[in-house]
């Protein structure tokens, strides 16, 4: 794979903007503003952090002491060091019947820790070391799901586990099909796995947010109104406006296939981008979906400037997994003699 800069989407957005920009007198350092006087949000940023979206139940306060934050960070690096230690060269094959691993590793394990890059620091916002990204409700937890959402979740789970789930590529999850990341794309919450990086390109008319996972570009129109309800882009429809020095982005029109924390297509996300200093954007998001959550919730994430570019995540190019999953199911059918 090559180290490729961001794609044509950026170029096309950038090309539309230059003529419209007019120089203005600006009060803040020029480097932090665009030529039309708006705060300059452009650059490559990372939202990687070990601070979880939801506050662990055993932590009461949003703000961690310096010592508590240091302990959490050390636990992460200690674990990495343990996993870097050599294995037994005389090891045998793993256990017949599976190794007991759960989640995506589904009883067969995954791959070595060295592939992962989940971050190693707690999130710091306005000088505070945070125990959760969610700041409201005050307990730092996602509000309870509505009964409607619970029923929907159960139906989704049943469908995902049911017979026929391997019958067609379109029945497979969006991430497996390389259509969207396995992590959230709107709002910009880290996936706690890897490649938690994004690039922002800004013009007076549009702001583009390119997420490394999975090379998804969300183009925000500045001003205007939302698309008609029946048009539902994969990452929703984003329109923005400036409130002083804060970019406010309003996103609706999500497709029913997306599933941010069990949300429905009625998901409504409001994001606020505010430049905190020359190396940080303070990002705040509010999630509302009355058909899913019993109350809205709000989180804050620091985006820290990176000195490097984003690598292309050309998911379709090497996606052997989807074929392996489907051919594996055909093999199982033959074995069971129950081919349909």
């Amino acid at each position: 794979m090559r180290n490729i800069l961001v794609g044509l989407a950026i170029a096309s957005v950038a090309a539309t903007s230059l003529a419209a920009q007019a120089p203005k007198t600006i009060a803040k350092p020029a480097a932090l503003r665009t030529s039309d006087g708006k705060p300059d949000l452009q650059g490559v940023w990372t939202n990687a952090t070990i601070t979880p979206l939801e506050r662990p139940q055993n932590i009461k306060d949003l703000v961690l002491t310096e010592e508590a934050a240091a302990r959490m960070e050390k636990a992460v690096t200690d674990r990495r060091d343990r996993l870097n230690e050599p294995s037994d060269p005389n090891r045998t094959a793993p256990p017949q019947g599976g190794d007991g691993s759960t989640g995506a590793a589904g009883n067969v394990g995954g791959y070595n820790n060295f592939w992962l890059d989940p971050g190693e620091r707690v999130a710091i916002v306005d000088g505070q070391r945070r125990s959760s990204l969610i700041i409201d409700p005050p307990d730092g937890r996602i509000p309870a799901l509505t009964q409607e959402a619970r029923t929907r979740q159960q139906a989704r789970a049943k469908l995902a586990m049911g017979r026929g789930q391997y019958d067609h590529p379109e029945y497979r999850p969006l991430a497996e099909r390389c259509l969207l990341s396995f992590g959230p794309t709107t709002p910009l919450v880290p996936n706690y796995f890897y490649n938690n990086n994004l690039q922002i390109v800004q013009t007076p008319d549009h702001v583009m947010i390119l997420m490394e996972m999975v090379h998804d570009a969300r183009v925000v129109r500045i001003g205007g109104t939302h698309l008609p309800k029946h048009i539902r882009p994969w990452m929703g429809d984003s329109i923005g406006h400036w409130e002083g020095d804060t970019l406010v982005v309003d996103t609706t029109n999500f497709p029913p296939q997306q599933n941010f924390r069990g949300a429905s297509e009625n998901l409504h996300v409001v994001e606020r981008f505010r430049r905190a200093d020359d190396k940080t954007i303070n990002y705040r998001f509010t999630v509302d979906d009355p058909t899913t959550f019993t109350a809205p919730f709000t989180g804050e994430i620091p985006f820290r400037a990176m000195e490097e570019l984003i690598y292309e995540y050309a998911c379709h190019e090497g996606n052997y997994a989807l074929g392996n999953v489907l051919s594996g199911a055909r093999n199982e059918e033959k074995r069971l003699g129950s081919k349909q």
Binding site: M1, N3, I50, P52, E54, P56, R80, L83, P86, S87, D88, P89, R91, P94, P95, Q96, D99, G100, S101, G103, A104, A105, G106, N107, V108, G109, G110, Y111, N112, N113, F114, W115, L116, D117, G119, Y166, A175, E176, F182, Y192, F193, Y194, N195, K279, R304, A305, M306, E307, E308, Y313, A314, G318, N319, Y320, A321, N324, V325, S327, G328, A329
Partner: protein, 154 residues
């Protein structure tokens, strides 16, 4: 500590911190057969440094005959940011892999649950602090790009 259940361990950690399970790019449990555990030892013949997941091709010998196996790893992007490219591991490097074969047994493919050199050292070193991603917020990171790591192998 051995490298067993590394992704599982991370997932458990993620479950702990987020309160729900993480759905990765795809479920390994849907791709690989828990009843087909394998241990492979052989020489690297090719590295596919591709997304969503890297594939390492190795040549093994079974009953006196050579076989080419493809071993699934993770995204190469994280390693690229540490200066590790597909040329870092030379063709011919001997490796040991344990994992599970794909559910389609006609394919000689497996997950690289643990991929090491012949002496047990990890093929690469995990690093979330000194190499990837460098974001400029930590003074200890300095201003120079880390040199590509060359594990060498045997």
């Amino acid at each position: 500590m051995t490298t067993r259940n590394i992704l599982a361990g991370l997932l458990l950690a993620a479950v702990f911190v987020t309160g729900r399970s993480v759905i990765a790019h795809h479920a390994f449990g849907a791709e690989f057969d828990p009843n087909a555990p394998i241990r492979l030892q052989g020489k690297v013949v090719r590295l596919e440094w591709v997304n969503p997941h890297t594939w390492i091709h190795i040549e093994t010998v079974k009953d006196g005959k050579p076989e080419i196996w493809m071993v699934e790893g993770g995204t190469p992007n994280t390693l690229l940011r540490r200066g590790i490219t597909r040329d870092t591991v030379a063709v011919g490097t001997e490796v040991i892999v344990d994992g599970y074969q794909t559910k389609d047994h006609s394919l000689k493919r497996a997950n690289g649950r643990d991929v090491t050199f012949a002496d047990g050292r990890k093929l690469f070193m995990g690093s979330s602090g000194t190499g990837a991603p460098r974001d400029g917020s930590d003074p200890i990171e300095g201003g120079t790009k880390p040199a590509p790591k060359k594990p060498g192998g045997k």
